[in-house]
């Protein structure tokens, strides 16, 4: 699927429109993030489908934030799926990046991946490769909603008890850009406890994901304990949608209703 992406990136690099392209590269059998700056590097460019579609995704947006801060005058290209595009729109709405200095090269995810992700919009606004497939609603959330309150309690108690407090969910999250993190504040969450206080640790993070999570699912992929974090944050996103008719990243330029510092939404 990477040929059309390569052609597009080649065009962007050769025209001088972008200084570099943040994408994925395959080397020695491994897929890793890479900043492509010359055309002849592009042979190794991949879109992150190692043995299954999207099985080797990386939080490129996180790296992009560092990159654009170090080189504020330059324009960079970046590989985006639907979720990454939402992430960039949300990051722009939180004043973390300048969207005018970013050139997105989009790919649409196949239905198989959309189903696995329960992704509402598995494609970016514009894409050079892949085909637009149907969005999928979250069965995992509906299933937990249908349980009795005691059953829900037991389910999450069991999940949260597995946590080893590695902070992997936060560290991989492309929407976690705070300099100081509540999860490391001793007043809120006591240090030196494993699992971290239940449910304070996970619900604190869940609340912070409200109006911010763009549903990329990297948290669930990173979690060594297989805690269904994505399901929890999907629920939080649903609550915000129900209350404020807002989903983070779906409408570029629209600020989160919880982003008071940037002014209330129209």
């Amino acid at each position: 699927m990477s040929d059309k992406v390569k052609d597009k990136v080649k065009e962007l690099l050769s025209s001088g429109k972008i200084k570099g392209f943040l994408g994925l590269c395959s080397r020695d059998g491994n897929i890793a993030p890479h900043l492509f700056v010359t055309e002849d590097e592009l042979d190794n460019l991949v879109v992150g489908d190692k043995s299954a579609p999207g099985d080797s995704r990386y939080p490129l947006n996180r790296q992009l934030i560092n990159l654009v801060r170090a080189y504020p005058d330059d324009t960079f290209g970046i590989l985006v799926r639907g979720c990454d595009e939402r992430g960039l729109a949300a990051l722009a709405s939180w004043n973390q990046i300048n969207p005018n200095k970013i050139e997105m090269v989009g790919i649409a995810c196949p239905q198989e991946l959309a189903i696995a992700c329960e992704c509402l919009k598995p494609y970016p606004e514009s894409f050079v490769d892949g085909e637009k497939c149907e969005g999928v609603t979250a069965e995992t959330v509906a299933r937990i909603d249908s349980l009795k309150v005691k059953e829900r309690f037991d389910l999450w108690l069991n999940e949260f008890s597995k946590c080893i407090k590695c902070y992997g969910c936060r560290n991989i999250c492309p929407m976690c850009f705070c300099n100081e993190c509540s999860l490391e504040n001793d007043e809120l969450i006591r240090k030196g406890e494993i699992p971290p206080e239940i449910p304070t640790f996970h619900l604190t993070r869940a609340v912070h994901m409200a109006g911010r999570c763009i549903d990329c699912g990297l948290c669930s992929e990173a979690c060594p304990a297989d805690i269904p974090l994505r399901t929890l944050y999907k629920k939080v996103a649903d609550i915000i949608y129900k209350q404020y008719n807002f989903r983070a990243g779906y409408d570029a330029g629209q600020k989160s209703p919880l982003n008071f510092l940037g002014g209330l939404p129209e």
């Binding site: 309150v149 829900r152 309690f153 239940i198 619900l203």
Partner: protein, 57 residues
């Protein structure tokens, strides 16, 4: 917040919020009386013993 608590298996009635002016002492007292009554009816929190007896890592 109530909806998130409920999804996590904690009765949403355990959280109550109401805007009351600092000049409305009796209203606050009445609200708290009702809240405590509701909490008593719910019984101990399911979280009561969850974090007990944990050793520092």
């Amino acid at each position: 917040m109530k909806q998130l608590l409920s999804f996590s298996g904690i009765e949403e009635e355990r959280l109550h919020s109401k805007w009351i002016s600092s000049a409305e002492g009796p209203e606050f007292a009445e609200e708290m009386r009702k809240f405590v009554e509701n909490l008593r009816a719910l019984g101990p929190s399911p979280l009561k013993d969850v974090n007990k007896g944990k050793k520092a890592a």
